[in-house]
Symmetry: C2
């Protein structure tokens, strides 16, 4: 029906007759002439209807916003002075020669131009088919499609096979909650929707597939936090006979080529690498945003003679941490701003936010400092702090002192916030591999060991012995890829020996019976010739969100759900017939 | 860990040192030397371990089938007379210089060589990770990956966007049963897994996406017939501003390029097209296998004077059909063979299978025919049959006389069976578009109209009036792509006007209230500027099955389920905790 997309028209086509299809973006009547901005996926073009073609003109008078039109017309230059440099097609317009209304439209519930952006997300989701017509949303989904296809082409060229794994499967072990699917053929039994294809991709390696990938839908019935969705998509990858160095090198090459091809951005080659321990020490986070040029600096050892309990307590506690965070030019901060940062770190459990303003240390020394805690600090401590943080006149030094987990979370978050608030970000894209993660962490309440990644992650080869003797010190063969402070992907070399897998389960207090019940098929498969293997999974929604500069993963999904896991468009979930439930041998039993 | 894949080794690499990783396919000890066929995804190569390297030799003696090895060695020519022409690497072997056992293996439950093919499917599915190591299964999954990627690249180049649609959604309207997913956040409510993304892809057209595709997982909780799976995959496509001719031309170009690229097969250009009416008349089927050069021939009009009720009844019945099927050289068939074909058509409801053997019509006329029904047929009928079927001496003519649906199914199936049994197939690949389907068919029991495709299929433009007056005569804008008698894909131009959509619902006896409840979001969306659009969905599993020459879609899926929708590998579905059910506000209520 069309010869060209609207957005393709340019002065090279002048005098050509073209056929266009699209939506009425805007209609204006001006000087007895009707101007219609016709919109399709590619953009907008101005179509002009003259009164001398009476019949078409009369029809054009009737069209309203979002009517669907088929137009033929002749491309011509816009009259001098009426060009629109903001529009790619702004040098030309189309003189309408025929017009067909393919469909009418009621007045849309919100505008599709700039003003539409202020519409509430609820309305946007309810009328998603209108929201998605906005050029911004079109661009996002177009870029998403391009990103996935670029990734696939890379993997295809590297010999990876795209293999589909089941969605109706058995309960998986990732801890978060499974969505269940009742079975009609086996009443009283349930499938689970996968939280990831983890075990299936490992089984594919045992199947000799060597290199696997899948753009895989995953499901988690979690309490929905800010930017979570009940279903999400990951680029899931697994390969055999590779160690972590080879694997991460290949994966960062993929990410580099993706950014080059889609955004024309050169990411560093190689990506920097950092151990988990270093990341926590310097940034208080295992996914540090390296664009922020601020670092946590340990000062516990300087607090030996301090009688201020807030510092001295954590300094003496083996699980405590006392750290400083220097903010260059921070002495500009007002009392009110500092109060707000204090409130901010409170979210992360910090009981306060000590600071020292460095007004004039050079000339006045201690007198040139301004701080509510100064009185608690002996000279040696003050001098140590100033020397170690390298604070200069005009700076401000924040302090965190608490359990290490609290200090890391609070100062880690403050560091990122300051970076944004104060415009300190350096570089647009800062990727980082974080490696040498601990195998286990202790649940604070129960004291039980849990897997930091998942229980199929291999421990470092040279630390097999410490598995039983000192699990907390045991490092894993896991790696995370972090970009601008967001975890883009994570993976590990997996356990390929049955005995090690069993001892990990035991350490995690999964009984042999339980292990056989839940993972029997994996343990069994490990007996029949499992190759060394490892892999990674990238959160595709988050990757696209970053690459499109969106603020929410909902903005890069065609039909997302709300925070209560509802689809406002279709009204899912919803009630079902009694008869359907009966067939599934189920009864609803709402709590009183 | 490897420098080469096993299957890559050839005489060009002689004297090169290579590192290989793989599985022990076979180990033989012969003349004091150990031969190991090492297998990876690419194929097999023979590795030789000499006793002069005592340590390695001792290790090689311990390995068994399916052990996982890393080997380095030197490529050399096989000694003259020991080359294996059946093996791509059969000219060379690798002299083992180092050997590492990466993992041991218990004796596998079945052999991986030729003999393994006889293993029961149950055992194959239970140990799928071993079954998938068989080169045959590897080839199938590799080809599947190549097929999907080739399709994606075509669509990508044609401007289609890959857009993901939800898997947790609202009950869909395709008639077959939905899988339900209870919601924890909304107790007593359920999501449904999609039977297809039909409504979402239409919404994407209303969203201005213009061209959409997705390799989409679909779900049907059906009573499982021979080759159905509870979850299956379709290549789902939708486009705007195209009519059925443009759309089918583009789609057949895609299929043609796929076959050329993956199988090096040239499919016809263009594909032949046939109306539904013609397909039913000539082949008794709307998905005729054109490789079979046999056709049904109507003979009802010749039966006017026949007193034989079996023929005369259907001949006089407006819903009846009397048809002949000529089998060239069919007079060779024995009585026993004919009895078996009679039994075969009985499956389709035929009450018998009349026939005439043409032994010597040329010289003897009626006397040269042999048939139990000859006595009922007047000369005029016999002559008419002989003339119209073009039967020659040595042929056999079968007859079907019953309700048209029974004759079509029975003779249609017989036609295909004869084609295979008698080796009559012509051409390897015979694609066909079937078009001009009826909009509706009548449910035999209730007399109610149902949609032959689905209720979103558009009627032909020129038949809008007959919608109400004569629904049975109304043709739709649907099209099916048939290949070798298998329906590969089906689609239609959709309804894009709310008033027509509502009148279709009314005709299907879907009340306005019900329509609003189930499809309100679609009806609403149709009001806001819906473009003309249409699409198609291809059954990917079936396509891959045909292209790999497999006999079951289970053979082209990595982890299929059984006919009772169970996964024998993971034991899904299975019982779940009482606590989980409680959270979902559900109780199991098994029937006594």
């Amino acid at each position: 029906m069309r010869s060209h997309y609207c957005g393709e028209l340019e002065s090279g086509l002048i005098d050509r007759e073209v056929s266009l299809c699209g939506w009425v973006h805007r209609r204006r009547d001006h000087g007895g002439v009707i101007f219609i901005d016709l919109r399709d996926r590619s953009g907008l073009v101005q179509v002009v209807f003259d009164p001398d073609r009476a019949e078409i003109f009369a029809l054009a008078e009737q069209v309203r916003s979002e009517y669907v039109l088929a137009v033929t017309g002749r491309v011509r230059s816009r009259p001098e002075g009426t060009e629109n440099p903001d529009l790619p097609t702004g040098e030309v317009e189309v003189l309408g020669l025929s017009l067909q209304v393919l469909n009418a439209a009621e007045t849309p519930p919100f505008q599709l131009d700039e003003h539409g952006a202020d519409t509430s997300e609820e309305v946007r989701l309810r009328y998603r088919y209108i929201d998605l017509r906005r050029p911004e949303m079109q661009d996002r989904l177009r870029l998403r499609s391009r990103i996935t296809q670029t990734l696939r082409n890379f993997l295809d060229a590297e010999g990876f096979l795209d293999i589909e794994t089941p969605i109706l499967t058995k309960s998986t072990p990732e801890g978060a909650r499974d969505y269940l699917v009742p079975s009609r053929v086996h009443p009283g039994e349930f499938y689970a929707l996968p939280q990831s294809p983890q075990l299936f991709k490992q089984l594919l390696m045992m199947s000799g597939m060597d290199r696997y990938y899948q753009i895989a839908r995953c499901f988690r019935d979690e309490d929905l936090r800010a930017d979570r969705q009940p279903e999400f998509t990951q680029l899931d990858i697994e390969m055999s006979f590779m160690d972590e160095d080879q694997l991460t090198v290949l994966m960062e090459q993929m990410v580099r080529e993706l950014f080059k091809s889609v955004l024309e951005v050169d990411l560093p080659d190689p990506f920097p690498r950092m151990t988990y321990a270093e990341a926590m020490r310097r940034y208080g986070s295992d996914r540090p945003d390296l664009r922020v040029p601020l670092e946590l600096i340990d000062v516990a050892d300087l607090m030996g003679e301090v009688e201020f309990k807030v510092f001295a307590g954590p300094a003496a506690d083996p699980e405590g941490r006392v750290a400083a965070l220097r903010l260059p030019k921070g002495s500009e901060l007002t009392r009110k701003e500092i109060d707000e940062y204090t409130k901010f770190v409170g979210i992360y459990g910090a009981k306060g936010l000590a600071y020292i303003k460095v007004n004039d240390w050079n000339a006045q020394g201690r007198e040139g400092l301004q701080s509510p805690i100064l009185k608690f600090l002996p000279d040696s401590a003050v001098e140590g702090i100033m020397a170690r943080t390298g604070a200069e006149d005009g700076d401000l030094v924040f302090f965190g002192a608490d359990k290490a987990t609290v200090v890391n979370e609070a100062l880690g978050a403050l560091r990122v916030k300051l970076g944004h608030d104060r415009g300190l970000l350096e570089g647009d894209w800062q990727p980082l591999w974080v490696v040498d993660f601990p195998m286990f962490e202790k649940e604070p309440h129960t004291g039980r060991w849990t897997a930091l990644h998942h229980p199929f992650t291999a421990p470092k080869e040279d630390q097999l012995d410490s598995l039983e003797t000192d699990p907390g010190a045991c490092l894993s063969r896991a790696y995370d890829l972090v970009l601008n402070g967001t975890e883009l992907g994570g993976g590990s070399i997996r356990i390929h020996r049955e005995d090690i897998q069993r001892s990990i389960f035991r350490l995690l207090k999964i009984s042999d019976e339980d292990a056989n019940d839940r993972f029997g098929f994996l343990l069994n498969a490990l007996k029949y010739g499992c190759p060394p293997h490892g892999g990674i999974a990238f959160g595709l929604d988050r990757l696209v969100m970053l690459m499109t500069g969106s603020h929410s993963i909902r903005d890069v999904m065609a039909f997302p759900k709300t925070q209560t896991a509802s689809c406002l468009l279709t009204d899912a979930p919803s009630a079902v017939d009694e008869a359907q439930l009966k067939e599934l041998a189920l009864r609803i039993k709402l709590r009183a």
